[in-house]
Symmetry: C2
Subunit: 188 residues, 2 copies
């Protein structure tokens, strides 16, 4: 994470810290904290996650590679960017993103750039989410999904994806942020 002036202002003191829960998909830390003003927060929860990535992938023909899958917390099936979690074997967020795009969609190649680095929620979740912009990708393989993945791949024009954002069909905030940035920087 890039640092900025004042990043270290007003830090809280951690008086006690303990793990409540450590599972592959849920790690919860509870902390007793003291604010600079002296007030204390006896139970502050931090959720720990690995680094995440998502990819705005655009084919040589100018189509955006989107995935569609069921999302259980909201109980709906929707379009999203291809996204994933950095593994311990990935050398970098870029390599992880390239692996994930290939596994989930079969698309690869092209030109890649880091496009945004955001926090899922800097108050309660400790991970960063890297967004990449990949242009001129092409279908190089077929999907290789895990047992609990049920993902279909769809190509859309940028105009169609922008409409999905505007109408609220594309609802994942972590994907809406880099996509709105893209449409801001690439007006139709």
């Amino acid at each position: 994470m890039k640092s900025f002036p004042g990043d270290n202002d007003n830090k809280w003191t951690v008086l006690k810290s303990e793990y409540l829960f450590r599972r592959p998909w849920l790690t919860v830390r509870r902390e007793h904290t003291r604010l600079p003003n002296g007030n204390e927060c006896p139970e502050y929860y931090v959720l720990e996650y690995p680094t995440w990535m998502n990819i705005i992938a655009i084919t040589k023909e100018g189509r955006m590679v989107m995935v569609r899958q069921y999302r259980h917390a909201l109980g709906v099936t929707r379009y999203e960017l291809c996204a994933g979690i950095m593994d311990s074997t990935d050398a970098s967020p870029l390599e992880a993103a390239q692996r994930e795009l290939m596994e989930e969609t079969g698309y690869g190649g092209g030109h890649w750039q880091e496009y945004a680095v955001l926090a899922q929620n800097p108050g309660s979740m400790n991970n960063l989410v890297y967004s990449f912009l990949a242009t001129d990708v092409e279908q190089l393989s077929t999907q290789h999904l895990e047992n609990t993945e049920d993902i279909s791949v769809h190509l859309f024009t940028p105009t169609e994806v922008k409409r999905m954002l505007q109408e609220g069909e594309l609802i994942q905030a972590l994907h809406a942020a880099p996509l709105w940035k893209y449409f801001c920087e690439h007006p139709a």
Copy 2:
């Protein structure tokens, strides 16, 4: 949440559901689920949250009202939109957002519109985040903060806020999404 064609495709079956943890700031549900392809996920975690709101508030003079506070999970102090949580006494997300802007910043009045409805994370978190665009707001009061809030208020030009987004200083994804939408729709 608006519904879209196919929202109910590929739903999972919940074989067992139990609350692991129910505290004011952390509610965790563990579910044993079965996918349409027959595969099962014996421990899927859903985090339950109330509705959240954030506000792009712009004064009559054209300045954006931003807040600055320490965010403990990442351990940094950064600029953000004014944001909050809908209380049981709030009649609507709009009313909650107007209350929150007044409490955190002292600004109010003006013209309000719902600007985006996004999911914090539709896979693992069950809440929606409403973004509002409030124009022509003015300072009507002073801050009324809770004990564990340590928030300062700052006015910036839209150009300054866009630069913070571009440079990665404004890191909260839930705020970056509506702000990039705003800059997309209001090019400088």
